[in-house]
Symmetry: C2
Subunit: 573 residues, 2 copies
């Protein structure tokens, strides 16, 4: 493609509403254009990236044996009434409308209802199973405050797949196949990612795995072992119990700690290691008004784990300070398990192995030191209620955990009969009896992947596209071609050679722009490889090569450009 | 593809709400599935056809230099307020909704507003022009009574393109290029079609051409010369004035025609040729209460032409019978121009050359015979107000007109500044002054083309796909493969050979179906070529070939199958 015949629409100003780097770079690089809050047009440069991701997804889904179809954007409300989600779906994210005959419709955020409706007429015998249908399609979620550009847009593009089975074993097998397919998709996209155990959330079902692209701007925390054998959303990662040791108990002492209301204040006031302190959170209970949750001073509460405790009321709610005062008799900053008799005490595994530790004395302005569980607080429950931290042992026994931030780009679910049962999607089994089908569903955010790839691959000059999804793999920039017929000729010859070799190349033949502007723009847009053709190096029959990721340059003989680029792109010649 | 791994979902019953053959065959063949009135899912078999059409459209648009982008489905109402179409657009076909912040949006039926909004920020200098943006995208028109399956669905897929220019000459050149591109698209699809002069309708602008796929079920009538040098929607085709001749005038006679109220009744009662009679329609006038429109007895009024007469009120409205009675003094069936003094008389060119003709006598139960214009009705206006008929001379002088029915599948418009002026889409011209851009727009109905192709290509057994858009080009049907290892082996070898040769082949390896069922299904679905592998012909090293269009069969040597199919598909080996 020649730049003179292709819309390149970079802008200089960083848009004021773009909070994160992928949003800023997509707008500045002219990949997308905002139409309304959370609603974007994909300009020619951006659409090239989107289509490459779509094609990788389609290739791998086809290879897995899944079948592509295309369901409508508009969905009748009556199907959502059948599944029970018309009123329930994610508190207002479902965009509803009425047609001219006043019938209820929605602009689909997901297609479980539609595919189940198709399956219940399409699939009649267990012999037709398993089947896995997928589509790549535009969806809508009416976010209250759309942010983060294409990472959380209102209108977006998803690949969603739905599988149908006559047994959980069969579902498990397709689920594992989709796990492998998603791994292959993200590997082909050259992204660093983790497949992690996850909570099934509102979609429901019995098992789910999230796929996260690792990036410092990610909203999720992922814990994984160095050897890759374990990975989980931090919500779910188990914190193993440390081994207890046999330190001799010292005498319990009550010390004055005036106005020291936080762990860090107490630690510095008493000059003790934070790992020898504990903190106590009071939450509302399920059988008792209050429940105490006890953690080591440097750990944080995992709310998902805490919510699953039988003692705790769902959703997890911190106790009001007035209730704490009236029941325990002190402010929240001075609570501790020793002498706390008015509520059940749940102690995290790591706090449970401490000896001679520091905690609040249940009296404003006082703490205990040298507290010991068996001696001073015999009646406790031990449980895993904290978030894991870097260096914790991996739950599968393989080394220590590392923790990184991730952007969720895919999620695969074992749905079971959550939709097939209420919507009566059955097939006849081998005995001719109606049997409710078992379902799985598998989503990957196609437009979100564009943003996630940038969050992981950028520097202060712009985007650093992985070659697999770059809008063009190579840019050729002639220097002052209008003054040098030699530069013009060599540039054009190189352009044609590269195209003939199957390399996607942009020849930046725009006459009105200075070379410096073209260089800066090429770095902003992020073509992986740049070739500059100028009289100076042409004197030695060379051109100047720069790799976008390292920004390192070298002079290359003209005759070797195609070969070297094919090699850099991992293509056979 | 193997049929055992692909959803084939034909059904036996013709759906009761499917009025036309393409709708019936798409449902029966399992290409589409109804989700709601006018809203369909594309099943795997149907999606293959849709994608092939998309790809032909995309190829040819790219080849023309147009640039693909992707605009959102949801559009903010404020842009439609700017263009003035929020209240006006086609009387309620615009599906409006409000987001959670109560802002107006619509589900786009067309994207002039959005692209003009993009262009006014994107295009700043006349040097960036011309540019032609296109997308292939889902749209919505909230039809009152969706009918005809994908020919008039509520949710549908369009390719829409929009070009921007700094002069009408430049627009004209892109318009002609799009004319050539659409011709190439429909030619590659192997469809019989006509590009016809058309009315611009509500989109407005100064020139437009429609593309019609010819089919007996078409809703439009297309007039064209046999040599292809002229074609127009019958709405617009000019009826030339016949040459007058010099027949001697006979004496005007008033004859009794009791209860003969229609032309055909009068013709048979008086036993005269219908071509010697005229009929008179009374419509509401613009300057006078009534206007008489006069046509030869066998011709029909062209309402578009009549509406453009200065004498006639828009929209064209037939006069109420009571007004006719009170003004003219007779019923509508007895009106004639002779002696009609109360309203202007507009006479069609063909009626205007008649001599000694028959017409109503403006008195119930009486007609005149031997009426002559100059003698009996001197004060008339001659105009072209009728629809052309087969055999009329072509307006461009090249032979006679033929008339066929057509389905409109594409429409290209010269919009001028209809959108760019109200939305202030300007560029700086060579002198640095703001200049309103000139626009063109170019639509082709991608999902509608699926239906139109079937309307043109089917027989009583099912669809007869042109090979270019068939879901598979060849089906291989083994006969009782589970009983004959030879049949199984040859079928599989042929399947692999054909795939290797780049032919899209479906191997119908489903064991549970009888051969007769597979044959009927293959004819319903409409694969262009069928190969049957059975023990009987294998004895001679042959298979049975059948062409879907002719249903003619022949035995082919196994060794020649690939070569012959490549040749039938027009592919180089």
């Amino acid at each position: 493609m020649k730049a003179s015949q292709f819309s390149i629409s970079t802008i200089k100003e960083t848009p004021s509403d773009a909070e994160i780097v992928s949003h800023q770079l997509l707008i500045k690089g002219g990949f997308i254009k905002k139409l309304a809050s959370g609603i974007y047009s994909w300009m020619p440069m951006g659409l090239r990236v989107l289509r490459k991701i779509e094609q990788i997804v389609r290739d791998e889904m086809d290879r897995s044996g899944a079948q592509e179809l295309l369901m409508p954007v508009s969905q009748p409300g009556e199907l959502w009434e059948e599944s029970g989600r018309w009123q329930l779906y994610d508190e207002g994210l479902l965009l509803k409308f009425k047609d001219r005959h006043d019938r209820d419709f929605c602009f689909g955020p997901t297609h479980e209802e539609v595919i189940t409706d198709i399956a219940r007429t399409e699939l009649r015998s267990h012999k037709q199973l398993p089947v896995n249908y997928y589509q790549i399609q535009t969806k809508f979620r009416d976010e209250t405050r759309p942010r983060f550009g294409v990472l959380r847009a209102r209108e977006f593009i998803m690949k969603d797949a739905y599988s149908f089975h006559n047994s959980l074993d069969c579902l498990q097998s397709t689920f594992e196949q989709m796990h492998a397919t998603y791994t292959q998709i993200l590997t082909r996209m050259q992204l660093e990612f983790r497949a992690v155990d996850a909570d099934s959330g509102s979609i429901g079902g019995s098992g789910s795995i999230e796929f996260h692209v690792l990036a410092d701007s990610g909203e999720d925390l992922i814990a994984f072992s160095a050897d890759g054998s374990y990975a989980a959303n931090i919500e779910l990662a188990e914190a193993l119990a440390p081994e207890a040791n046999d330190t001799p108990m010292k005498a319990l002492t009550k010390v004055e700690t005036p106005n020291q209301k936080t762990i860090s204040a107490v630690v510095s006031f008493l000059d003790v290691p934070v790992e020898t302190t504990i903190k106590t959170l009071i939450v509302e209970g399920s059988q008792t008004p209050l429940v105490a949750l006890v953690l080591r001073g440097d750990h944080t509460l995992n709310t998902l784990k805490a919510e699953k405790l039988p003692e705790v009321r769902q959703p997890l709610t911190l106790a009001a300070e007035a209730d704490i005062q009236s029941t325990i008799g002190c402010a929240p900053g001075s609570i501790g398990p020793a002498g706390l008799n008015n509520c059940p005490i749940v102690v995290d595994r790591s706090a449970g192995v401490l000896y001679n530790f520091v905690c609040g004395a249940n009296e404003d302005g006082f703490h205990f030191t040298n507290v010991n569980w068996h001696r001073d607080t015999p009646d406790i429950v031990i449980a895993d209620i904290r978030n894991v931290v870097s260096g914790d042992p991996s739950p599968n026994g393989n080394g220590a955990l590392d923790i990184r931030k991730g952007i969720e780009v895919g999620h695969i679910f074992q749905l079971g009969n959550k939709y097939s049962a209420p919507m009566k999607a059955t097939v006849l089994d081998a005995e001719g009896k109606a049997q409710t089908m078992v379902m799985g569903c598998y989503g990957i955010g196609v437009s979100r992947l564009v943003g996630a790839a940038i969050e992981q691959n950028h520097d202060d000059k712009g985007i650093v596209w992985p070659a697999s999804i770059a809008p063009f793999q190579v840019v050729v920039i002639p220097i002052n071609a209008h003054k040098s017929p030699n530069v013009e000729r060599v540039s054009l010859e190189l352009y044609e050679q590269l195209e003939a070799a199957g390399i996607e190349v942009l020849l930046d033949d725009r006459e009105q722009l200075r070379p410096g502007v073209k260089f800066a723009e090429a770095e902003l847009i992020g073509y992986p490889h740049r070739i500059v053709v100028g009289d100076r190096t042409l004197a030695n029959n060379e051109v100047e090569y720069t790799e976008r990721r390292t920004l390192e340059g070298a002079n290359w003989p003209i005759s070797e450009v195609t070969t070297r680029l094919l090699s850099a792109l991992g293509k056979a010649q």
